[in-house]
């Protein structure tokens, strides 16, 4: 069996105020994977990442990076990980070039090699022109890219990104997606947490959903999306209508005079629906998914988990 990039076994974290952030979670991430770790706020994602990169002390369990234990082989394990945290955590009074060269130095990389790598990553991430500006003067998107460059400066084999595109505009987000896809193609394993589920769906091959400190789903993106038993589509009509049409097998609501929302079960087809629309002389101008498919699944799973937690508490 191939060595996993990340192996977490029975990981538990109880904070000093007795809050149990993680309850015996286990997880494997394959080498070369692009892996999504999703969950609502406070689910335990950042705690998990904190433990992996040793910013948070675990209560119990074992974490290995390419089979190197983060406790006993910490030096090798840390050489293999690059982390992009959620919050900006670089010295705002330093220049991007100095931040990168200094970070490389912490990994024992001499400044001549570090300077060449810094140039490479700053150019790739569109920050080269800003290399001598004070980093506090960079825009939010630039600061995020600077943190990615910093995480890559020692060329890790596992890159962990905690909401790397939060607050980044759509154009920049897409360019970051392309960059990360290239990094992944070159062999770097990537673990991503994000609130943009479209991002997870388009980038990641495997996924784990964490909620209330437990892994509630851990599978491939394809298998997860197959679990979706219905999808909701929005149809824009050419004409205005006042009565909501009724079609057997489909749940339809009139959201506007010229807009319908239709819940389509997996057992029914879009062809059947269009045939019915034609019969009722409804002309469709455009259609789209009401929400991202993964988002629909994610919300369903988290709500289901919340209900089962409530039942258990009662």
């Amino acid at each position: 069996m191939e060595t996993p990039a990340l192996s977490i076994h029975n990981l538990t974290k109880v904070y000093e105020d007795s809050f149990k952030a993680l309850e015996s979670i286990s997880l494997n991430v394959k080498k070369g994977d692009f892996f999504a770790l999703l969950g609502p706020n406070g689910a335990g994602k950042s705690t998990t990442i904190g433990i992996i990169c040793s910013l948070v002390r675990k209560t119990e369990g074992k974490v290995s990076i390419f089979q190197y234990d983060v406790d006993t082989d910490f030096s090798t394990a840390k050489h293999l990980i690059g982390v992009v945290p959620q919050e900006f955590n670089f010295n705002q009074f330093e220049k991007p070039i100095d931040i990168l060269v200094t970070q490389a130095g912490y990994f024992g990389i001499t400044s001549d090699i570090a300077s060449k790598r810094a140039e490479k990553y700053l150019k790739q991430l569109g920050l080269w022109e800003k290399r001598n500006d004070f980093s506090r003067n960079l825009s939010g998107g630039m600061k995020r890219r600077l943190m990615i460059a910093r995480a890559l400066i020692h060329e890790p084999k596992l890159l962990i990104l905690d909401e790397p595109t939060a607050g980044v505009d759509i154009e920049l987000r897409r360019s970051m997606w392309n960059f990360l896809t290239e990094i992944n193609k070159s062999g770097t394993t990537i673990i991503l947490t994000t609130h943009y589920l479209e991002e997870a769906e388009s980038l990641c091959r495997n996924i784990a959903i964490i909620d209330h400190g437990k892994i509630i789903e851990n599978t491939s993106m394809k298998s997860l999306l197959k679990k979706l038993d219905k999808e909701t589509f929005v149809f824009d009509l050419a004409q205005e209508i006042s009565v909501c049409p009724k079609i057997k097998g489909y749940s339809i609501t009139l959201s506007d005079q010229n807009q319908l929302e239709v819940e389509i079960p997996k057992s029914e087809s879009l062809n059947g629906l269009f045939a019915e629309f034609s019969k009722q002389k409804l002309s469709i101008v455009s259609m789209r998914n009401k929400t991202n498919r993964l988002e629909e699944l994610f919300i369903g799973m988290v709500e289901k988990n919340l209900e089962s937690e409530k039942i258990r508490d009662e």
């Binding site: 040793s54 919050e87 705002q92 200094t102 912490y106 024992g108």
Partner: protein, 257 residues
């Protein structure tokens, strides 16, 4: 990490620390120089000329070693406490914590940074002192050893303060309410032989007294205290503080949640 990588990591921390205090020199280097000019003008020339001699030395020559030591102590301490706490506050200490740098290298890097500033300011103040008065060196080894050990000890103490600090008030409490009174009462401006028995005995509990006197011995050959005691006390305190600081870093106290 191999030894070369450890050396690079240490040098990186030291270089970053030096860059930090050089970048903000109006906050780090200029104020102690201005303060010391005032001390030399007021205590050395204006009041000092009326005091006459202290322990057989002209007063300005008596206070000069104490003032140099005072600037070494405060600058070594304040460099590490403000830099380390600043890193904690801005969270960029995480850059170091996620890296493979061993804790003892982190500790040595910050200490070396503090010593560079402490000794750098010490040299500036010495040059200033030489402008106002003249003095030779009685013992080069004693002078160098005690100034290095004192700077080392207060750099470590600054790091411990920074680890425990949770806000900016916490990093000014020790310098304001502990370090400054101990320095002023540590034989910088007077010989403890001027004090009555009780206050002289109380003064013996002041660690700064030992450092100032050892340094004064190195410069002028005059001391109120046996310098063997001075070296023993500073050496022992440095070892204890170093081990305590290392323990705090290993435990991740107030650094890792």
């Amino acid at each position: 990490m191999n030894n070369h990588e450890k050396w690079v990591a240490f040098y990186t921390i030291l270089r970053r620390e030096i860059r930090r205090f050089m970048r903000i020199w109006p906050q780090t280097l200029l104020p102690p120089v201005i303060t010391m000019v005032l001390y030399f003008v007021i205590f050395g020339q204006l009041i000092g000329s009326r005091i006459g001699t202290m322990s057989g030395l002209p007063y300005i020559q008596f206070v000069a070693p104490g003032l140099i030591m005072m600037s070494v102590i405060t600058n070594s301490y304040s460099n590490v406490v403000s830099s380390f706490f600043g890193s904690k506050f801005q969270k960029n200490i995480e850059e170091l914590l996620v890296s493979p740098v061993p804790n003892w290298i982190i500790l040595l890097g910050y200490i070396a940074g503090g010593m560079c500033r402490g000794l750098g300011v010490g040299i500036l103040v010495t040059l200033l002192a030489l402008y106002f008065t003249s003095f030779g060196i009685h013992s080069i080894p004693v002078t160098i050893a005690i100034v290095l050990m004192t700077s080392l000890m207060f750099s470590i103490a600054g790091l411990i303060n920074a680890i425990f600090a949770s806000n900016f008030d916490d990093i000014s409490i020790i310098p304001t309410f502990v370090l400054t009174p101990l320095t002023y009462l540590g034989g910088v401006f007077y010989s403890i032989n001027l004090l009555g028995d009780f206050w002289r005995d109380v003064s013996m509990f002041n660690p700064i007294l030992y450092m100032v006197n050892a340094f004064r011995f190195g410069i002028s050959g005059i001391t109120d205290i046996n310098i063997i005691w001075s070296f023993s006390m500073v050496g022992l305190a440095s070892v204890v503080l170093f081990l305590f600081a290392l323990h705090l870093l290993e435990k991740g106290s107030r650094l890792r949640s």
